[in-house]
């Protein structure tokens, strides 16, 4: 091969084709291959791929009862698959056309309740039948062969020559000598890599600006309202009952940290009541208000057992004793539920005296510092 040919469009060398095939065409002439049977060719190719067919359990005798039966079974499976597929289409397309409407607007009709189950049944049966047919075909009608394929270990020749190519390329690039380029490459890589990641900084938001985790919409004079927005007076509740209340601000009932439980204690509970230090005046008469949000994982603690004065979180079973300043008495929670200081305004409705004096909801790293 010469490399002196420099005419435009030339490949720079003599134009002779390379070896025709990757297969061993030198060992097996076309005439030889043509004289072999299809089965022999199959085995020859397999052997060339390192696969030896050791043993073939032949398929059932053509025309035998075994074969006819298997063919019937496979045929039945495929036919059923088609039938069920059409039934699916009939239900899917026919509903609301020649079949009753599937829509739930007509709630209560048997058909609308059956629509989805029928879709599932027919599609499920159809697809399963395709699978069953294929498996039956494989098991009953295909010859079962036992083939052995050799595993090859890595070749030392390959490793050494590939290594030489890689290391050679590195050396030829001259990089080992050109220290300045290597070092600047490292610096460049670090810089460009970080630069490409930098836009993710758009996601970062300071959690401490304005203390969003430590504040709620409660403030002095904000009324306690029910979910429907109605304000509450003392005496609206039976002793021993609990009511969920929200700050009387727009969307207050959907705020994730403002939910509060207004509990009217029974007389004997009032006697037992031991509020947390410095929070004795947070209650109003026999009313106490505690945060609805569990201090463990933030779920609403809404299950109240009057008998034991216990609040239970249904997510992780933390339990709080209302007469002990909502102290956790069982389960994974560690902090008492924050208490909301309440009083009554001029018109006789409950209002908050201030926001919660501590952060509501789950604990976090610097919570005590806020």
């Amino acid at each position: 091969m010469t490399t002196h040919d420099t005419r435009p469009g030339s490949s720079g060398g003599a134009d002779t084709p390379g070896p025709l095939h990757s297969g061993p065409d030198e060992d097996y002439t076309p005439e030889q291959l043509a004289s072999m049977s299809r089965e022999d060719l199959d085995r020859l190719g397999a052997r060339y791929d390192g696969v030896e067919i050791l043993h073939v359990d032949p398929a059932p005798e053509p025309g035998s009862r075994l074969e006819r039966r298997a063919v019937r079974q496979v045929g039945l499976a495929f036919t059923l698959a088609g039938v069920f597929a059409f039934l699916f289409l009939v239900v899917y397309a026919g509903s609301g056309w020649f079949l009753p409407d599937w829509n739930w607007a007509q709630a209560g009709t048997t058909w609308s309740a059956l629509f989805t189950p029928l879709l599932g049944l027919f599609m499920g049966l159809s697809l399963t039948m395709v699978g069953v047919g294929l498996v039956l075909y494989t098991k009953k009608l295909l010859p079962h062969e036992t083939a052995v394929q050799d595993k090859h270990d890595g070749s030392h020749f390959d490793r050494v020559t590939t290594g030489a190519t890689l290391v050679g390329g590195y050396h030829n690039s001259g990089l080992p000598r050109r220290k300045l380029i290597t070092r600047s490459l490292g610096f460049m890589g670090a810089g460009v890599g970080i630069m490409l990641l930098a836009p993710l900084g758009g996601l970062i938001k300071n959690p401490n600006t304005g203390n969003p985790l430590g504040r709620t919409s409660w403030a002095e004079g904000v009324r306690l309202v029910r979910d429907d927005g109605s304000p509450i007076r003392p005496g609206d509740q039976e002793p021993g009952s609990l009511e969920k209340v929200f700050p009387a601000v727009p969307g207050g009932n959907l705020q994730s940290d403002a939910g509060t439980m207004l509990i009217r204690l029974r007389p004997e509970q009032v006697e037992m009541d031991r509020p947390r230090e410095g929070q004795a005046d947070f209650a109003y008469g026999d009313y106490v208000a505690y945060s609805l949000i569990c201090t463990h994982a933030g779920c609403p603690v809404a299950l109240y057992e009057q008998e034991t004065s216990r609040l239970l979180c249904p997510c992780h079973q933390s339990q709080f004793d209302v007469t002990q300043g909502a102290k956790p008495v069982f389960g994974p929670a560690t902090r008492s539920l924050p208490q909301l200081p309440i009083t009554v305004d001029d018109e006789g409705f409950f209002v908050a005296r201030s926001d919660y004096i501590e952060a509501v909801g789950p604990t976090y790293w610097n919570r005590e510092r806020i």
Partner: protein
Amino acid sequence: MAATATLPGAPTSRLGKAATEFDDRMIVAGPVRRTLNKVFPDHWSFLLGEIALYCFVILLLSGTYLTFFFDATLTEVVYEGSYDPLRGTEMSAAYASTLDLSFDVRGGLFMRQLHHWAALLFVASIVVHLLRIFFTGAFRRPRENNWLIGVVMLVLALLMGVTGYTLPDDLLSGTGLRIISAILLSIPVIGTWLHFAIFNGDFVGTEIIGRFYIAHVLIFPAILLALIAVHLLVLVKQKHTQFAGPGRTEHNVVGNRLFPTFAAKATGLLFIVFGVCAALAGLAQINPVWLWGPYNPAQVSTFSQPDWYILFLDGSTRIFPAWDVNLPGDYTIPALFWPTVVVAGAMFTVLALYPMIERKLTGDTASHHLLQRPRDVPVRTSLGAMALTFYLVLAISGSNDVLADKFDLSLNAMIWVGRIGVIVLPAIAYVVTYRICLGLQQHDREVLEHGIETGVIRRLPNGEFIEVHQPLGPVDEHGHGQLAYGGAPVPKRMNQVGGSRRAIRGFFSPVEEPSAVELEQRGEGRGLSAADSDRQLTSSGRPSEGGRPSDGGRPQDPRD
């Protein structure tokens, strides 16, 4: 080359000629033949990973369908759809579009449930596949890299599950999201920053569903798809493992070629998995979000459980004691951090590193392609049982409120059962499993030495009753078998060694001639009589290595 078309033996049919033309351009005949000839070993447990793969296909198809209708925004809308009980309710667009998908899209509910069922089955088949790999030692060198990829895929599948669970924005998923938010907040130092980066502010914010949506439909599936491709390529490159058996060595694979047997079977399995998912999707209702209602931070339902694969995390959260760590400077490590981040992190780290840990402890750095029977590696099997028990106690604790309610138990007692059980039961499981493994080993060796119990009782002249045993191979002068245990199942019933002929096929009436079956039996030499040909398969030179213990030859005469 045009010349190829005229070579003798070149195809003459139209299809054949077209194939030749194609190969002229693409040169694919060689690789295609190599692929078709690839040998796959045959064992039911090798199909578990395939089931996971097919579930993923179903998830891609059904998930794509769902994206046509789902609106991943938290904009407040008033529901005006077909479902009466919620009409006029304020809810997020995400929840409203989920309701529309369920009630106003033809077949939409079916697709939603198909997606959910396929997801449950996806994770389940991954976990069972992982257990199969673990207990048979298929993760050993050279397959550690594929084990690692597998563990990453499992974590991704869980993340896919969690993000998908959150999308409908119903009451249950909202509660789950709140717990995710609390878990993020619980991470020391960076927790609040991480939370604000992901949620774009305090819980719940307005961005989170949109962000989870992109993660769920684009980022995680793309990574998962890439990893699946790598997982399978590595598998093809390294070839399959196989159980020990006749002719099976460390240097070969015995089974069926890809085409047609394996391909047909695998396609059959794909359709059956798809069919089962479709049937479940129609017949078994799952996650009826319209019953839970839209998310409201002040509400929660009892029996708030996540999907089964996250249950263990919920359980660990429930039973972990209330241990806040208060550091100087008023910093706190919340109790929630330990059971969710630390325990889960430790579980997955140990899982991911297990191949390296075992390699270190046993000093076994050799390449392995033959699988082990769990009984032959009692320590690993017992460790696995221990881990599984730990996991199950956590998962059961995740639903301890349901158990307490349904079985009239004390909830507090259930939590203590979990707390004590999670420490004590794994240890018990270890010991019990270890003994069982040794017992099973012992029995295999007994059968190899003394033969199979025939059920025939003989009375000796001295009046003693003994059971006649059928030796599996040649015996020495004391009547003891000489076969060594080769890591393959030992036949333990007469029929397994050809004690009787195989049943004649046919359900109501025979479809085979009894005489033909008898002939076939003689000709093929099933059971022990197949030994001669079996022996030739064993290239290792050691008669029992990788071979069935039955390699010894024809059944000997029954002896005492």
